[in-house]
Structures are given as structure tokens and as C-alpha cells.
């Protein structure tokens, strides 16, 4: 099947700024993103888990965004405006997609 080059950007970010991040993504012109729940993790700010939690103060989400390679820089700028001050992790990998119209 014919595929097209793309970038897969995966952002682990505090749940409390999810809306800020997705707004920034849209402003940066992405055509879509997907949010996955995250149940726990560990990093410089220590281990955490969502088990039994009710507050939104701790806890993260994973936002996955498939974009055309040429858009990734713009996207990263937008993402970092939000992520910079918050706890989180951004990674980018090469990917290929089949339907070009999708993004």
C-alpha cells in the first residue's frame, strides 16, 4: 500500500493543562489529535498513580498527534509554549500514513 511520510508526536502532559495544550495544537493548525488516559508514571517529580484519586492536580494524559513532517516544527513551538512550565515529556518519531487527506 502506498504510504506517505509523517511524524508521530507523543506528548505526556499534566491533565490539568490538557485543554490549553489542545487549544494550542489547533491554533498551530493540526488537523487532529487523540487523547489517551495515563494511569501512572515516574519522573523527576516522583512517582504517581491515578488510583483512588479525585483531584485533577496530579495525573497526566497522553496526546498523540500525527502530522506532516514539514509541520512538526511549528507544532513543537506551540506545544512548548504550554509544556515548558509544566511537568511533561514530548517525543517525536517517524511514521507513515496511508490516507493523505486525513492530515
Amino acid at each position: 500500500m502506498k504510504t506517505h511520510d509523517a511524524k508521530r508526536v507523543e506528548i505526556f502532559i499534566e491533565a490539568v493543562v490538557e485543554r490549553q495544550l489542545t487549544n494550542a495544537l489547533i491554533d498551530a493548525g493540526v488537523t487532529g489529535y487523540t487523547v489517551l488516559p495515563v494511569s501512572g508514571g515516574n519522573g523527576q517529580s516522583g512517582p504517581w498513580s491515578r488510583e483512588g484519586q479525585i483531584g485533577r492536580g496530579s495525573g497526566m494524559v497522553a496526546v498523540v498527534c500525527i502530522v506532516r513532517p514539514e509541520r512538526v516544527d511549528e507544532l513543537l513551538e506551540a506545544v512548548f509554549a504550554v509544556v515548558e512550565k509544566q511537568i511533561g515529556m514530548v517525543s517525536v518519531s517517524d511514521a507513515a500514513v496511508v490516507r493523505l487527506e486525513k492530515f
Partner: protein, 326 residues
């Protein structure tokens, strides 16, 4: 007069406190007992809805008066002021960075609704319900302290504290505040008739649900304590038991000033003495992301919450009954 020892024992021996202790034990023993996040949230939705509704019905029954307004204002004032007391106290006791101190101060100015629920439950069991509108007072005391905390952080050279749209929405339209106040208004509007319709849902099983919820809080508090031993230096821990006493004193003064009933005074003390670990942490992550969230949460949930639950509440009741009875 309340018999001190009797009271303390009644409190400690209630299924509610024992459930909390069970959760704490399970966490410290590294059991894998845990509540799914959705269940914990579901329980908290139930509790907020029920307590808000009942508060509203109580106000509808006893009528509204100037005292309600006065109590709201005093509550707001206390929440604004408490961080100003907490900040220098923490500076004395610890070497934490100013931004962390400001964040902690914000948590202690705000309130813990679960502590409020446990206190209401003890009061009701002893026939001293406070004024129904104390629920509304609790709701309005959530947010003001956050503003003071941000002001404190900015003043101490931390200039980037944000107060954008997202922030205001977070503190004013926070889910738990909207639910509590909304249910309060519904209870007020529908009164005894509305309560009769849903009594077997929001009144009868309430205490049992509270037990399960406190079991979960015990688990969460215990796991947090274990995961943050390094953060809780002696000074920090001392603050965790000292500050509730300071808060309770201020709450006492407010309650006496307002001329509240004994139950009302105790509830205001409890509100002032308790620290938020649900609403404020989220707001702080938006407004002061540089602050280490683990410090505030460990203090509020790991030290002050258990302290209030076991020692604080009966103590405040004793003190208040000595003064209000007089």
C-alpha cells in the same frame, strides 16, 4: 457539657475513622488494595451532591437571614487571610523556596470538604448539627486563598504566576464548587418536598458511603506519605499540625463573632483548620507550575488531614463547647 474522653473515643471508634485507618494501614503495609479512579470520583460526586442538597434544604427550612451573608463574608475573609499567616510560619519552620511556601499557604487557606463531612457526621451523631448554610460557607472558602497565594508568590520575586482565563475558570468554576453550590441551590429551591423525594438516596446511605470514601482517602494518604518521606522534614511536619491549630483559632474567633451555634462554630473551625487537596492543587498547577506539587499534597493529605480527623475535630469541639456553652 461534652465529656472530652468520651467524645474522643466516640470519634476514634466510629466506622468512618476506622475505615480511614484501614486504608492507611493497607497503604503502609503495601497491600494492593485500591479504588479505581472512577469509583473515587463517583463517591465524591455523590457526597458533594448530598451534602450540598441537605445544606440547601436546611436553609429553606430555617429561612435565610443576614447571618448567612455575614457568614459567607467572614468565610471569604478567613480564606483570604490564612495564607498570610501560613506564609511567615512556613518561612520560620522550613527552608523551602518562596514559591513552594506560597503554594502550601494557598492550600491551607482553602478547605478540605472531606474533613468537613467527617466533622458534620460527628456533630450530627452528638445532636449538634451546625447551620445548614455552612455548606455554602465551605464552598466560598475554596478559592480566595488561591489568589492570596499567587500574590505572595509574585511579591517574592516570582513574576510569572499566570492568572489567565484558564486559571479563573479553574478556581471559580471548578467542578467540586459548582456541584456543591448547585446542589445547595437545588436543595434550597425544592426544600423539604424535594428532600422527601430523594431522601433514601442522599440521606440514608450517606454515612456508609462516607466510610468507603474515607477508606479510599486512607489509601491515598498512606501512599502519598510513603512516596514523599524525603520531602517531609521536621519543620514541614511541624507546620502540618501547627497550622490547623492556628486556623482553628481564627475560625473560632470568626464563629464567635458571627454568633453561630455550637455546631456552626466547630464547622468554621474545621474549615479554617483544614487544607485543600482536591481543588487547590489543580489550580496551583495552572497558576504556579514551578511549585512542587508533592510538598503541598503530602502535607495537606498526609499530615493535616489525619491529624484533623483523629485529634483535631474532637479538640475543636471541646474548645468550642467550653466557649459557646459559656
Amino acid at each position: 457539657m461534652v465529656d472530652p474522653l468520651d467524645l474522643a473515643l466516640t470519634n476514634l471508634g466510629s466506622p468512618i475513622i476506622l475505615s480511614f485507618a484501614l486504608g492507611l494501614f493497607a497503604a503502609l503495609a503495601k497491600s494492593d488494595l485500591s479504588f479505581p479512579e472512577a469509583i473515587a470520583k463517583g463517591l465524591s460526586i455523590y457526597l458533594l451532591f448530598a451534602i450540598g442538597f441537605k445544606g440547601g434544604v436546611a436553609v429553606a427550612a430555617h429561612g435565610m437571614d443576614a447571618q448567612l451573608l455575614a457568614a459567607l463574608l467572614v468565610g471569604i475573609a478567613i480564606s483570604f487571610l490564612l495564607p498570610l499567616v501560613a506564609f511567615p510560619l512556613l518561612q520560620k519552620l522550613t527552608r523551602l523556596p518562596a514559591v513552594d511556601i506560597a503554594a502550601v499557604a494557598g492550600h491551607y487557606g482553602s478547605i478540605s470538604i472531606v474533613t468537613f463531612l467527617a466533622a458534620s457526621s460527628l456533630l450530627t451523631a452528638n445532636g449538634m448539627e451546625g447551620e445548614g448554610y455552612m455548606v455554602a460557607v465551605a464552598a466560598v472558602m475554596e478559592a480566595p486563598a488561591i489568589l492570596t497565594a499567587i500574590w505572595l508568590a509574585n511579591r517574592s520575586g516570582r513574576s510569572s504566576a499566570q492568572a489567565g482565563n484558564e486559571f479563573w475558570r479553574e478556581i471559580l468554576l471548578n467542578g467540586s464548587i459548582v456541584l456543591l453550590l448547585g446542589a445547595f441551590v437545588i436543595g434550597w429551591a425544592t426544600g423539604e418536598r424535594g428532600l422527601a423525594e430523594i431522601k433514601s438516596f442522599i440521606v440514608d446511605p450517606f454515612k456508609g458511603v462516607l466510610c468507603l470514601f474515607l477508606l479510599d482517602m486512607g489509601l491515598v494518604a498512606g501512599r502519598r506519605l510513603m512516596g514523599s518521606m524525603g520531602l517531609l522534614t521536621r519543620g514541614v511536619a511541624v507546620f502540618g499540625v501547627l497550622m490547623p491549630l492556628v486556623g482553628a483559632s481564627i475560625g473560632l474567633a470568626g464563629g464567635l463573632l458571627l454568633g453561630l451555634s455550637l455546631g456552626g462554630v466547630v464547622l468554621l473551625m474545621v474549615l479554617a483548620a483544614s487544607a485543600s487537596y482536591i481543588a487547590v492543587p489543580a489550580a496551583m498547577r495552572v497558576a504556579l507550575p514551578e511549585a512542587n506539587p508533592a510538598i503541598s499534597l503530602s502535607l495537606a493529605l498526609g499530615i493535616t488531614f489525619p491529624f484533623n480527623l483523629t485529634v483535631g475535630i474532637p479538640l475543636y469541639l471541646l474548645v468550642a463547647s467550653a466557649l459557646v456553652g459559656a
